[in-house]
């Protein structure tokens, strides 16, 4: 392209050195323009400067440059020597201009394409857009982004545009385009740089945010950990006192507190419980000297006036004089809590180890901790209550069990008694029945009783008798038969003894016999037969079915020493039958 231009310029070299000077001038201007334009960054400035240079160089009075970006359908305009509204009009007409002059919608980057129009005033096509003064219109485009229209008025010197001018114009335009390109690039770079900077700042901000969030999270974690520790520690405890102590210890440890105390009051039992750490004895004494009841009353009044409801907490600080009254000792911060209608408490903390004031966070933490603590304390109390109830229940259980046992034993006893009763009743009925009946059992019973009693009586009595007949206990006495007895009787040598009872003897007896009844043996023998010769022959008779009198008497006689004693076995009846002598 430049080669062509050069050819053109060579053709024009025919003009004298004027042209060369002009040329030199133009070149110098071009060089300066290039130098100047390339140092500019703003496109508006560029086109304004370019316009200035152009108009100054060419000696124009009117002119404008319209930059068009067909891609974005907008542009920039710079005008000189024109009225403002004309400039405005051109600018506003830009889209139509684009339409007219840059219909090509291809995207290809092509070398600078310059087209020069000369506008005639009458041209319907060009006329309406441009002011009257514009006589030359130059159109260029590199690509979609770098296109433009340049409108130039007539020269001051009223010359026409020479070739050198045109050349200059084209060079200038190319320089313009280049510098516009540069400027645009620079702008883009700057924009990018700004963007980057902004982004960096944003990033830094974000980083800071993250950091702060991290801090926040850390703090939360710390709080939660403290909460968790305390909760897990306390939930294992069942003793109220232990809970108080442990909580105080942990809370103070968490926040690095030097001294503090927990005061728990009970309206029902009328007592106050105090747990403390790091507090000197003197101060403590003062607190303990206070009457528990007074403390209780004060607390409850305060709770009422503050509207403290059960299972709620209130933060108390020494900043607030109203709050400070509640503190018994110096304390910086505290939590006033109520477990239920009858239990209130105050947790108070004094200095921290670091001697820094309690931050909002820390106060919040204390409140949260206290809430938890309250719940656990309530639990512990409930547990204690339950334990007590359990003990009572156990006691009652034992009592009940005892009662139940007694009842069962009584019931058993009653059952047994009932059984006994039924038994007794049945046996009594049986007895009654038996009383009316005749039964063999009775006979056996009576008989057995009679036998036993009789035997006992008989053998324990000196007057008892032998149960077996005495005949069995000794050898039978010698007997004599009837005939020999008769002979003896006739001879009169033998003594006949009638052993039967006297009545029988009186009835009938052998003639000549004497009566020696068995029953009166001793007497009769002693009186009558004492002097009887032991050698004397004696014949004894007299027996019946039920008694062998003769045997017995014979035995007695023998045992008295008589040697010749015989028993007449035949008896009186046979004697009588044989018609032997009988006395009636």
């Amino acid at each position: 392209m430049q080669v062509e231009e050069f050819t053109l310029s060579i053709e024009k070299e025919k003009d004298g050195s004027k042209k060369l000077n002009r040329r030199q001038f133009l070149l110098k201007t071009l060089f300066d323009a290039t130098y100047e334009l390339s140092s500019l960054n703003d496109t508006q400035q560029i086109i304004e400067n370019a316009l200035l240079i152009l108009m100054g160089t060419l000696g124009l009075t009117e002119g404008f440059i319209l930059l068009i970006n067909t891609k974005t359908q907008n542009g920039q305009i710079a005008g000189r020597g024109l009225k403002d509204n004309e400039i405005k009009t051109i600018y506003e007409k830009a889209p139509q201009l684009i339409q007219q002059y840059f219909p090509d919608t291809s995207e290809t980057t092509s070398p600078l394409f310059i087209k020069i129009h000369s506008i005639s005033r009458n041209s319907a096509m060009d006329g309406p857009y441009f002011p009257q003064e514009i006589s030359l219109l130059i159109q260029w485009s590199v690509n979609k982004e770098y296109s433009g229209l340049m409108g130039l008025g007539s020269k001051i010197l009223k010359e026409n545009y020479g070739d050198e001018d045109i050349e200059f114009l084209s060079h200038l335009i190319s320089t313009l385009v280049i510098s516009i390109k540069n400027a645009r690039s620079m702008e883009i770079v700057r924009k990018l740089y700004l963007n980057l900077h902004q982004k960096t700042i944003e990033q830094e901000d974000a980083l800071k945010q993250v950091k702060s969030t991290q801090n926040e999270v850390d703090r939360q974690v710390f709080h939660l950990k403290a909460l968790y520790d305390i909760t897990s520690e306390l939930s294992g405890l069942n003793d109220t006192n232990k809970i108080l102590e442990t909580f105080l210890l942990l809370a103070m440890g968490t926040l690095s507190i030097k001294n503090g105390y927990i005061l728990l009051v009970d309206k029902e039992d009328k007592r106050a419980q105090l747990v403390y750490r790091g507090i000197e004895g003197k101060r403590l004494q003062r607190l303990q000297e206070d009457d528990s009841e007074e403390i209780i009353n004060r607390f409850f009044k305060a709770a009422e006036s503050r509207g403290l409801t059960p299972m709620n907490t209130q933060l108390i600080t020494d900043k607030n004089p109203y709050d400070k009254i509640l503190f018994h000792m110096d304390a910086k911060v505290g939590v006033f809590f109520a477990i239920d209608e009858v239990h209130l408490g105050l947790i108070a903390f004094n200095d921290k180890l670091t001697s820094i004031d309690y931050s909002q966070q820390e106060q919040k933490l204390l409140v949260t901790l206290t809430n938890n603590f309250m719940v656990l304390l309530k639990n512990a109390r409930s547990f204690e209550v339950i334990q007590q109830l359990n003990l009572d229940l156990e006691k009652r259980n034992i009592q009940l069990k005892k009662t139940v046992d007694e009842l069962t034993s009584s019931k058993r006893r009653i059952e047994i008694l009932e059984k006994i009763r039924a038994h007794a009743k049945s046996s009594i009925q049986k007895e009654i029945g038996r009383a009316q009946r005749v039964s063999a059992v009775d006979f056996i019973f009576i008989f057995t009783l009679a036998v036993i009693l009789s035997l006992i009586f008989n053998f324990s009595n000196p007057n008892g008798i032998n149960l077996q007949p005495s005949i069995w206990s000794h050898e039978p006495s010698p007997s004599i038969d009837l005939y020999r007895a008769k002979i003896k009787h006739d001879s009169g040598k033998a003594l006949f003894v009638d052993a039967r009872p006297p009545n029988f003897f009186k009835q009938r007896h052998i003639q000549g016999a004497i009566n020696l009844p068995l029953t009166l043996f001793d007497f009769v023998y002693m009186m009558k037969l004492n002097s009887l010769d032991p050698e004397k022959e004696i014949i004894v008779y007299g027996r019946n079915f039920s008694r062998f009198y003769d045997e017995e008497v014979a035995f007695k006689l023998i045992s008295r020493g008589h040697t010749n004693v015989n028993v007449l076995l035949a008896g009186l009846s046979t004697w009588e039958k044989n018609n032997y002598p009988i006395k009636q």
Binding site: A435, F443, A450, F545, R547
Partner: protein, 169 residues
């Protein structure tokens, strides 16, 4: 008509007499009497056992080997039955036993009366009166009393005292 009325009246009086005779109070009296007799009778026999043995032997009914045993046991049976009768325990059984004894005695007296043995009755003492038809009839009377007791004695039993207990229970 008159006959009927008469017989009706007669029946009524007969019934009345029967009721009177079989009244349980009569039985009570008889019971006490018989029981008392037997208790009293047994006293002498227990005391003088040898004499009672002689008495039994003189009746000539029991075999000689059982005489002594009977003499020892029988009085006690009499005594116990007598006590039972008086007290009112097991009266029926006691009555039965006493009735049996009575029968035995009556028969024994009857046999010996027929035989004509000169023995004493032996009921109350050894040397009591000789047996006679009077003793026999006395025994018969006692026998009837015993029968009466057996059938009609229903009151004053010690055994009955349990009925009160029953009522309580």
């Amino acid at each position: 008509m008159g006959k009927k009325q008469l017989s009706y009246k007669a029946m009524k009086t007969l019934l009345f007499i029967k009721k009177l005779l079989t009244h349980r109070y009569v039985a009570i009296v008889l019971r006490f009497y018989i029981g008392g007799i037997f208790i009293y009778a047994s006293m002498n026999k227990i005391n003088y056992t040898a004499e009672f043995a002689e008495t039994i032997a003189s009746y000539q009914i029991v075999p000689h080997w059982s005489v002594n045993i009977m003499a020892v046991i029988l009085p006690w049976v009499e005594l116990i039955c007598g006590i039972l009768l008086v007290a009112g325990i097991r009266t029926r059984s006691a009555t039965v036993i006493i009735g049996c004894l009575m029968i035995i005695f009556t028969i024994a007296i009857f046999i010996n009366l027929i035989k004509g043995t000169p023995i004493s009755c032996g009921c109350f003492s050894t040397i009591g009166e000789k047996i006679s038809w009077w003793t026999f009839s006395r025994d018969i009377v006692w026998m009837m009393m015993i029968v009466h007791i057996f059938f009609y004695d229903k009151a004053l039993h010690l055994g009955k005292r349990f009925s009160l207990l029953i009522k309580e229970v």
